[in-house]
């Protein structure tokens, strides 16, 4: 209903009516006009009170009237409105009559019957009563009327043995009716609501009054309330068990509880309790029945369902607690169990989707991720240990480690949301297990790199190789004994460089720069020196060729020499062998040439590393043999004699016994048998004889005869390790002296713990003790005279 009060504009119509002085009336004193003005006067029956009241109800046609007036300013007649002669009075029984009308209307509404009065009329009646100070009575009357009606309703809910569902339906119906009726009643009594109720803060609005009464008489009845709540819980539980239920009914009844402000007290608590009970038992049961992935999917579904429940009918304030309860009962309670039961197999089988779900679910509960992270860590340690610890699997260890790292990285990336904690835990776990076995992983990684960098390795392009090297560096980073790696890497690098077997200089250099980045220049300076030696040797050889051109009386031999700086390269066994005359001549010429260029140096020949190309004339034709220097020496003997005994060869070449046996084995028992052994057999015995094999056939022109190296490798390996341990002793000594110099006096235990902080490689306490003893012997430090567990530094 729109009313316009234009106090200022309608000045001409203003009339001071001396109506009662209540504030409300004063405000009403202004003259209000209505398009129905004439009607009002003509049809007094319809609005019998109007003329009596003495002012006109306002409608939206006000401005039209105003215009009519203003548009005729020239009219000759002037309308003058005068005060009424006598004050208008209400009829005596006005109040009674009007209330009769209203109460009959209300009753009609409550009983859903038709009503003889128009709504407009009723509204008017209310407004008039209000304006005549009857508001209070009106309100009280209405209150008692509503109260009576609601009281009547209670009976139907108290009946014994009522079907719960029917009960809920009935309740809902009653509630809906109540709402409809109250809306209707309120519309009629709107004026009351807006004036009387507004001005009296202690009185609740008609709608609220309805709610209060409903609450008081129906829902606060213990029996009814219990029945409603139980019924609701039953429906929800039914839905949780997968049955279809009437969600609108649920929603409407829950709204009722909210509107009546007993949602929290009557429903929510019980609901949460029943939720907790249900999911506690479900969690227990399903953990037993289901595999972990199925369980997780189920939990996810449950959470989803509960969220939907909140959207569809529960009050949003319940959401947090509800979801929390579900998570707690289905997840928190079972975190350890889930991880123990299922994580390992999920990781093992690389179940990306399930792991993602696991992570998502665990991130919802407190400590879930922490637990997951530590279980993840434990898994890596356990699994990694099996890769590293078994000597039988040494051959595949590095590749397996790389694959394992890839898989775990991928899981952290895709499933664990790149969580930094998981990444760090992954690294920590790798570092832990890779050092479970001392030295071997470092050695194998070095060898793996060698196999990748060696020529003839065509399985990877440069870019792939580069990526592989990066991955290897990640493993390398985890290793504590980096000196072991360096030693083996150096030995292999030396082989690659000297035999010219390096796949690509670029890859070598890039590996070197990676190592440098990781361990600093000190670590790689010698390796770099090796590369430099190779480059310098090239220049020297060019110069040497020119130098040879001037010399005379020489056989046509293409001699190149690699000059290595002592100290950069691994140490090789020095041995003197007897070279043929021409070769000695060449050697001498080179030595003279080299020392003339570099004074103050001395040269030591390394026959173990030399290799040659021989031209060989067999019956079947000419061949070229690519052989080591030792093999060359043996073969060249057969230029003079067809058959030679082992002893003769040994004396003639002066090659070390074991080395010679292996050499002869490679020539007479290998794939390409240039010599024949008499008698036949795999091992070379003292009394064996060897013969030139003129019948030698091979489809290739150029034949490489490999040295037999099996035994040598294991010896070399030991030697390399030995050297590493030697170096470590110095490092331990240095560390002890450093610490003692700073502390002056220190107890044994403190010294040991400081040493462990400083030393980057694994050491046994017994070794440390030995070094301390040795330093005491050498007067670097001494035992305290009073306390044998205390050391003093001796300057």
């Amino acid at each position: 209903m729109s009313r316009q009060r234009k106090q200022e504009d309608n000045g001409p119509f203003k009339r001071s009516v001396d109506t009662p002085s209540s504030q409300h009336s004063k405000r009403r004193r202004l003259f209000e006009t209505d398009e129905n003005m004439s009607d009002n006067s003509v049809d007094p029956n319809r609005r019998p009170n109007f003329s009596n009241v003495g002012y006109v109800q306002v409608g939206n046609g006000f401005s039209r009237n105003l215009n009519t007036v203003q548009l005729k300013p020239t009219a000759a007649k002037k309308i003058v409105i005068k005060n009424l002669k006598s004050e208008p009075k209400l009829p005596e029984d006005y109040r009674y009559q009007t209330w009769e009308k209203l109460s009959s209307a209300v009753l009609a509404i409550q009983q859903s019957k038709s009503n003889q009065y128009s709504l407009e009329e009723l509204y008017q009646a209310v407004e008039n009563m209000c304006n005549h100070k009857m508001a209070h009575t009106l309100y009280t009357e209405l209150y008692s009327l509503t109260e009576t009606h609601i009281c009547l309703n209670i009976e139907q809910f108290l009946a014994e043995s009522m079907d719960r569902f029917l009960f809920l339906k009935k309740m809902n119906e009653t509630w809906q009716n109540h709402c409809d009726q109250m809306i209707m009643i309120r519309s009629i009594f709107l004026y009351l609501d807006r004036t009387y109720v507004l001005q009296n803060p202690n009185i609740s609005s008609i709608w609220d009054m309805g709610l209060e009464l409903f609450r008081k008489y129906i829902v606060l009845n213990t029996l009814v309330q219990t029945r409603v709540v139980e019924g609701l819980l039953m429906l929800i539980e039914k839905e949780r068990h997968g049955d279809k239920v009437d969600r609108t009914l649920l929603k409407s009844l829950l709204r009722m509880l909210t509107d009546l402000q007993i949602y929290d007290s009557a429903f929510e608590q019980k609901f949460l309790q029943s939720t907790e009970r249900l999911y506690a038992s479900e969690g227990q049961r399903l953990m037993q029945e289901f595999e972990v992935p199925a369980y997780l999917t189920h939990v996810y579904k449950r959470i989803q369902e509960e969220n939907e429940r909140v959207i569809h009918y529960l009050d949003t304030s319940t959401k947090y607690q509800l979801i929390h309860t579900v998570e707690k009962q289905l997840l928190s309670e079972h975190v350890t169990n889930i991880l123990q039961k299922g994580l390992d197999s999920l990781l093992e089988e690389n179940r990306i989707d399930d792991l993602t779900l696991l992570y998502q679910l665990f991130s919802r509960v407190k400590n879930g991720l922490v637990e997951l992270c530590s279980a993840f860590n434990a898994f890596i340690k356990k699994r990694g240990r099996t890769i590293v610890i078994d000597p039988e699997k040494d051959k595949t260890m590095v590749q397996e480690l790389l694959d394992f790292k890839d898989t775990m990285d991928n899981i952290v990336q895709t499933c664990f949301n790149r969580n930094e904690k998981f990444g760090n835990s992954l690294k920590e776990a790798f570092e832990h297990f890779i050092n479970q076995r001392t030295n071997k992983p470092a050695e194998l990684i070095a060898k793996f790199v060698d196999s990748k960098l060696r020529a003839g390795n065509k399985e990877a392009t440069e870019e792939e190789l580069e990526r592989l090297l990066d991955k290897i560096m990640v493993l390398f980073r985890f290793i504590h004994g980096k000196d072991v790696f360096e030693a083996f890497y150096k030995k292999d690098l030396a082989k690659r460089l000297l035999v010219g077997k390096s796949a690509s200089v670029d890859s070598e250099k890039s590996m070197l720069s990676k190592l440098k980045q990781e361990c600093g220049g000190g670590f790689t300076s010698k390796l770099e020196g090796m590369f430099k030696d190779m480059e310098l040797s090239k220049d020297i050889n060019v110069a040497f060729k020119q130098h040879l051109n001037n010399a005379q009386d020489l056989i046509p031999l293409d001699m190149t020499v690699n000059i290595l700086t002592m100290g950069y390269w691994p140490t090789y066994m020095a041995m003197d062998v007897n070279l043929p005359e021409e070769m000695v001549k060449f050697q001498d010429i080179f030595k003279e040439f080299y020392l003339s260029k570099h004074s103050g140096r001395k040269l030591q020949w390394q026959p173990t590393l030399g290799h040659c190309v021989l031209r060989a004339q067999f019956k079947a034709g000419l061949k070229e043999l690519v052989v080591s220097l030792f093999q060359t020496l043996v073969i060249l003997l057969f230029n003079k004699y067809d058959e030679l005994s082992f002893d003769y060869i040994k004396a003639a070449t002066n090659i070390e016994d074991g080395e010679l046996r292996r050499t002869l084995q490679s020539l007479a028992c290998g794939k390409a048998r240039v010599l024949l052994k008499i008698p036949k057999g795999r091992e070379v015995e003292d009394n064996d004889k060897f013969r030139f094999n003129n019948e030698f056939i091979n489809k290739l022109y150029r034949i490489k005869i490999n040295q037999i190296q099996m035994k040598e490798t294991s010896e070399e390996q030991k030697a390399t390790e030995e050297r590493v341990f030697q170096d470590r002793q110095y490092q331990i000594d240095a560390a002890i002296v450093r610490i003692m110099k700073m502390r002056k006096t220190l107890s044994h235990n403190l010294l040991i713990s400081e040493l462990y902080n400083q030393l980057k490689f694994p050491v046994k306490p017994a070794d440390l003790k030995k070094r301390i003893e040795s330093l005491i012997d050498r007067d670097y430090m001494e035992r305290d005279k009073d306390n044998p567990n205390q050391y003093n530094y001796v300057a």
Binding site: T565, K602, V613, Q617, K619, F638
Partner: protein, 111 residues
């Protein structure tokens, strides 16, 4: 070739083969290590091996164009050898060989 028949005749004899060699050396790739021709491996001044750069140079990691540390060896008339860097600092204080106290004069330099 006459070899077969000849071998049949003197099977067990170590007999010289005709002037035509069965094996000829075509290419030789030799390897040698160089080190300073010194009597004592360590420099008496800095106690570091003469093959390595002296302590100062290692700390500064002074490098020439190729990246090699340019720290050569010097021999005195007394035949004692030291890092050149070490010795040139030494003679500023005391122009005698630290080992034998002879007057220091350079015999030759490493190169």
């Amino acid at each position: 070739m006459s070899e077969n028949s000849r071998m049949d005749e003197n099977d067990n004899d170590k007999k010289e083969v005709s002037q035509e060699k069965m094996f000829t050396l075509k290419k030789w790739n030799a390897v040698a290590m160089w080190s300073w021709d010194v009597e004592c491996d360590t420099c008496a001044i800095c106690r570091v091996q003469v093959m390595d750069a002296c302590l100062r140079c290692q700390a500064e990691s002074k490098k020439d164009f190729y990246g090699k540390q340019d720290c050569v060896v010097v021999w005195g008339e007394c035949n004692h050898s030291f890092h050149y860097c070490c010795m040139s600092l030494w003679v500023k204080q005391n122009n005698r060989c630290p080992l034998c106290q002879q007057e220091w004069s350079i015999q030759r330099m490493g190169k």
